[in-house]
């Protein structure tokens, strides 16, 4: 019985490998270009990257202005 289940597992492994082997692959140069482009296009909105002015930082206490 256990040799049957080993066979079944092995058959499933082979089927899975066939599936993974058949995937379409794009060139790494294209993939790299797209990753870089996404980073550049969104850089200005990335607060951790470019910083956020104190006035618009929801995590900082607003400074109150006292008008004399």
């Amino acid at each position: 019985m256990s040799s049957n289940s080993n066979l079944t597992t092995m058959k499933r492994t082979v089927e899975q490998l066939k599936l993974e082997a058949s995937v379409d692959r794009i060139k790494v140069s294209q993939a790299a270009a797209d990753l870089q482009q996404y980073c550049l296009q969104n850089a200005s909105k990335d607060a951790l990257l470019v910083g956020v002015p104190a006035a618009s930082n929801p995590f900082r206490e607003p400074r109150s202005c006292a008008l004399l």
Partner: protein, 339 residues
């Protein structure tokens, strides 16, 4: 030749085929492509808030929106925090204190958690009488619950120490799909921005990409030399970032089906516990066993910053959906908000 031997040979030959196919599209490396790009300037983030209240190690944190987050601690509580004010919106006592993961539903209506009880418990935050109660207990895993993520108010995906991931129907409490294939405990999962696929990282040192609807594993990524503890999607959904006990993080591109870059430093010798990309994907924040969180330039693979301030392991990290801040959770029982 016996059938078993024949299948073994076929498997080896298919693995070689995959390796060759990946090499065939490697016309350039990521390093080559970004050779002319400058490393980002030093990133210095400050602790803006410290969330105090847990009495023991924090194991997980998850943002619901850009203000509310939920954290889980082995003090047996889930706390929902208003991170702007540091107020506790809900403090939910758990039946089992051995919690390892928590999640906030995208709608904000529910939270979930689980751990050594092998179950995923769903809590309704918007009950009629204002009390937060267990809505459903999803039980079927035969190992600990390591991670969970909501797709919507009726579907959640869990990963488990039983080596499987499961898609659940919350209303009926039943398993819709079991994702089997990993050969080691599943430690972490991430859902794609388009909700069609998810990724899992496991103790078999691989990451797998799964189709949520048909249950198939589409791609498997190796290369790590130890357990993968943390996993996340690059914000455009086209790449996956993993963090491992082998002290490195890796970026795998889904469309070229291969590893593009490794984030490691000879000075770092401890495991990665958690990771999160910044909004643009340019920064990867990774929590380590040595109490620190390192910030990596994702394209240049250089360390550009450190978050130090915790007195024990950083166990979890998350960036707000609007990218405005990141939250770290630690075994020192505190959560810190940085930007």
């Amino acid at each position: 030749m016996g059938e078993m031997e024949q299948l073994r040979k076929e498997a080896e030959s298919l693995k070689d085929e995959i390796t060759a196919a990946r090499k065939a599209v490697q016309d350039l490396t990521l390093q080559d492509h970004v050779a002319g790009t400058a490393v980002v300037g030093r990133v210095q983030l400050k602790t803006r808030k410290t969330l105090r209240g847990h009495l023991s190690k924090i194991y997980a944190v998850h943002w619901g929106d850009s203000k509310l987050c939920v954290s889980a601690s082995q003090d047996g509580k889930l706390i929902v925090w208003d991170s702007y004010t540091t107020n506790k919106v809900h403090a939910i006592p758990l039946k089992s204190s051995w919690v390892m993961t928590c999640a906030y539903a995208p709608s904000g209506n529910m939270v979930a958690c689980g751990g050594l009880d092998n179950m995923c418990s769903i809590y309704n935050l918007k009950g009629k009488d204002g009390n937060v109660k267990v809505m459903r207990e999803l039980a079927a895993h035969t190992g600990y619950l390591s991670c969970c993520r909501f797709l919507n108010d009726n579907e959640i995906i869990t990963s488990s120490g039983d080596c499987t991931c499961v898609l659940w129907d919350i209303e009926t409490g039943s398993q819709k799909t079991v994702f089997a294939g990993h050969l080691g405990d599943c430690m972490s999962l991430g859902v794609a921005p388009d909700f069609n696929t998810f990724i899992s990282g496991a103790c078999d040192f691989t990451a797998k990409l799964w189709d949520i609807r048909d249950g198939q594993c589409r791609q498997t990524f190796g290369g790590h030399e130890s357990d993968i503890n943390a996993i996340g999607f690059f914000p455009n959904g086209n790449a996956v970032i993993t963090g491992s006990d082998d002290a490195s993080c890796k970026l795998y591109d889904l469309r070229s089906d291969q590893e593009l870059i490794t984030y490691q430093d000879s000075g770092i010798m401890c495991g990665v516990t958690s990771l999160a990309p910044s909004l643009s994907g340019r920064l990867i924040l990774a929590g380590y066993d040595d109490f620190n969180c390192n910030i990596w330039d994702s394209l240049k693979a250089e360390r550009v910053g450190v978050l130090s301030g915790h007195d024990n392991r950083v166990s979890c990290i998350g960036v707000t959906p609007d990218g405005m801040a990141c939250c770290t959770g630690s075994w020192d029982s505190f959560l810190k908000i940085w930007n």
